[in-house]
């Protein structure tokens, strides 16, 4: 039993997308869809600038809105805190896709809803998720929140600043962003430059 979580240090992330490519291949994500993607924000005015590269994916919320939305019980949270889909039970109704405030789910053309699993199959073998393993900057750290000696706990303890996406939703995400470059945090959309 664990409470798996991921942290992404935005001070280190350069938005290279190695994680996104690794995810596509590891999980056979179909073209046109993503389990993991990267947003880029440019903030400020020349020459006082900040750029934020922010990888996004399923946050494996403690209170996942997608789970109660599922009519068949295909979406569930397992005992290790991972939010998952039993694909064979999914009827592709899309209710969970609509319920997710983070847009983290998509309809796999194979006929079921798909999303980041934190590479459940790799964790089972004691490996890190594919995105964490490949990240050249090492900005991603994965581990068990309940284990005080885990790398995740260590990273959280050392971080200057910790943010989660849309905390007002009460979802209690288990994907934490460390050291957000913008002083106004992650969710400030006003600064976003299209």
């Amino acid at each position: 039993m664990a409470r798996y979580a991921m942290v992404i240090d935005l001070e280190s992330c350069v938005g290279c997308s190695a994680c996104a490519a690794a995810c596509v291949l590891e999980n056979e994500v179909p073209p046109g869809h993503n389990r993991l993607w990267i947003r880029q924000r440019e903030l400020g005015v020349f020459p006082e600038l900040t750029v934020e590269y922010r990888p996004e994916q399923c946050l494996h919320c403690e209170n996942p809105p997608c789970v109660p939305a599922c009519p068949t019980g295909a979406s569930y949270k397992n005992e290790d805190g991972l939010v998952l889909v039993r694909y064979e039970r999914c009827i592709a109704c899309g209710a969970c896709v609509a319920a997710c405030p983070y847009d983290a789910r998509f309809m796999n053309p194979a006929g079921y809803v798909d999303k980041c699993t934190f590479c459940e199959h790799r964790i089972a073998d004691g490996l890190d998720p594919a995105c964490v393993e490949t990240c050249p900057t090492g900005c991603r750290v994965f581990g068990d929140l309940d284990d005080p000696t885990s790398a995740v706990r260590e990273a959280l303890a050392k971080a200057g600043r910790i943010d989660v996406l849309r905390p007002e939703m009460g979802t209690e995400p288990k994907l934490f962003y460390l050291n957000t470059p913008s002083k106004r945090g992650l969710n400030d959309t006003e600064e976003v430059q299209q």
């Binding site: 020349f46 600038l49 039970r89 592709a92 109704c93 899309g94 998509f106 079921y112 490949t134």
Partner: protein, 769 residues
Amino acid sequence: MKLNRRKFLTLSAASVGAVALGGRAGAFKAPWTVPQKWYEGQVTTIYSYCENCFWKCGITVKVAGGKVRKIDGQKHNPKSRGRLCPRGQAGVAQLYDPDRLKRPLIRVEGSERSEGKYREASWDEALDYIAARMLKIKDKYGPEAIAWFGHGSGDSWFVEYLPAAWGSPNAAKPAVSVCTAPRETASQWTFGRGVGGHEPVDWENTEYIVLIGHHIGEDTHNTQLQEFAAALRRGAKLVVVDPRFSTAASKADRWLPIKPGTDTALLLAWINVLIEEGLYDREYVEKYTVGLAELAEHVKDKTPEWAASITDLPADTIRAVARELAAHAPKAVLPPGRHTVWYGSDTQRMRALYIVNALLGNYGVPGGFYLAKKPYLEKYPHPPFPLEPAAGGCSGSSGGSEEVPEGYKPRADKGKFFAKTTAIQELVEPMLSGKPYPIRGLICYGTNLFHSIPNVPRTKEALRKLDLYVAIDVLPMEHVMWADVILPECTYLERYDDLVAIAHKTPFIELRQPAVKPLWDSKPGWWIMRELAIKLGLEKFVPWKNIEEYLDTRLQAIGSSLEEMKKKGTLVQRGRPYLKDWERWHMNPFKTPSGKIELYSKTFAEHGFDPLPDYTPPMPAPTGFYRLLYGRSPVHSFAKTQNNWVLMELKPENEVWINNAEGKKLGLRQGEYVWLENDAGVREGPVRVRLTERIRNDCVYLVHGFGHKSRGLRLAFGRGASDNTLQTRYVLDKISGGAGLRNNFVKIVPNAAIPRLKRISTLARERRL
């Protein structure tokens, strides 16, 4: 695109209704089966090294069901350390690209080059065709009339092995004169050592980093990025000098938005402060360098105030950075960037950069530069070749011997510049002019002639004039579809290549081995080279029966074997990274004429060049034009990866970056398509506008490698703009032979039509494994 939330809200209204009709939702069982994932079956792993850029990371290739499914970094490899960049990850999509060249093609008799009319041929016929014409050219003009261009790790067969055996000194790589030539030449004549393919920056120990036009994070050289990120996490300070707010700049403590082309002035001012304020490392400079007095005199008037008026940077900032550098020395470093052919005066700029490093006393010292050592490896004992390979390279030697054996001619570009390596762009001219002697044939291995060599119209004219033009490649790139004979090479995941020996802190050797059999009728480069050599009557130079024997012989000679390497992938040896390690054995690492670091270069003076670097103003932009800058996307390598669906989904096109205020002045809208037109009237695009605060108003920026024109590249075709097409002008660096490419200027021509192209995801669907 993702099916978004709003779309699903509409969709789900219908499907939720259906569920309600079905009644007990919990008991619902899907009528379909969920496809098995690749990792659920049996997976075998093979060690090799990556080819999706030049960095050569060790990889672990996972094969399931006879197909390559996933590529990871090799954990024990000093380059990858278990991690890979997006391009390395996406190699699978290149292997199974349906657009690949599948069998040898011969241009249809009577058709023109560029028409793209081909017939299929057998390997035997194609190689006979080539050999007959090569021998004819040799009879009439001599062996030097065949030029050899190569890029990629398989190029060793085609720019080193075969040309040297055949007797042509005209072998070249774009990796030299349109990339690293200035930094290598400058390093050679300052430190007496090249930089090499893996920049020997001691990231692990450094405390203060100054990057000048060096785009770490956008050029995802895996190891470098790992060490850079780790250094910043450790608290190292970062200064980025760049007209553009690059990714690296976004991580910096200071960004210096310098006026393009004025970097040498900035470096000279730093030298001035270090000397005038007595901040340089006296002990180091006295012990290891020559020419301080001349240097001090030379930079006396190059004050920060002088530089401020040139660089558009505040004098206080310039002075502050110099002092900070000194405060952290010798754990302060100014790494050389990679692509250094900017303005034509680049060897001198790189000399200035190295001199700053030397004054900080960081060369061969922890926190500065370590001294890279080549691993011990023996050559295959073939009979001596008539010539020495002359191509050089970012990781190769700095060129062949200057002595030309009797009966052979010197390189066709000899005399145009000082360095010993061949300049690829200078070999195009003799194809047109026949001077100093004619080049009548070209063997082109993996070098995209229309995306790497400046002045594409000239290249095309030259290709039209040749008696023979052969392209060896994996994909139908635009220049490939001009060749007389096209030879399809298999990808790096399907072949052996020669061993690579990486000069490093811990020198190592890597093996490339096939993970799967070649698809279609494609063949490995070594096989193509060997068969061609035999048909050319050069069989005595290829005494090995097959590649396994060749590799095994080389490995046995160093106490290993092919069998061992297949299991290990990487063989790591011991290095000698710091000056103290050399001095313990009374060895001198500085192979300069004086045996010391040459702040003042007597050799340069003797050859009529400035012995001390001076600032040369760059060519000014004509009114209404912007200087065209270019760089990299982290998900693409050169012009090689734009047909890879995984990467194209991440970055499907490039945009032209234009300063926000400047763009508004021009009436441009965010995301609109425009043409770019250079001052010679060459038009390129259409390309999207990216209005941004992240660039100065006197330049625009493109990511290199887009704007493919070959219809055979179904994903890459027509997306974005090619910087190389707009680079019709270059200024030759008379020292290194580098082609200074930042002397091209463009204006924005608005109202271009939106290109009508299928979505990448639609095109990619058929490419799914």
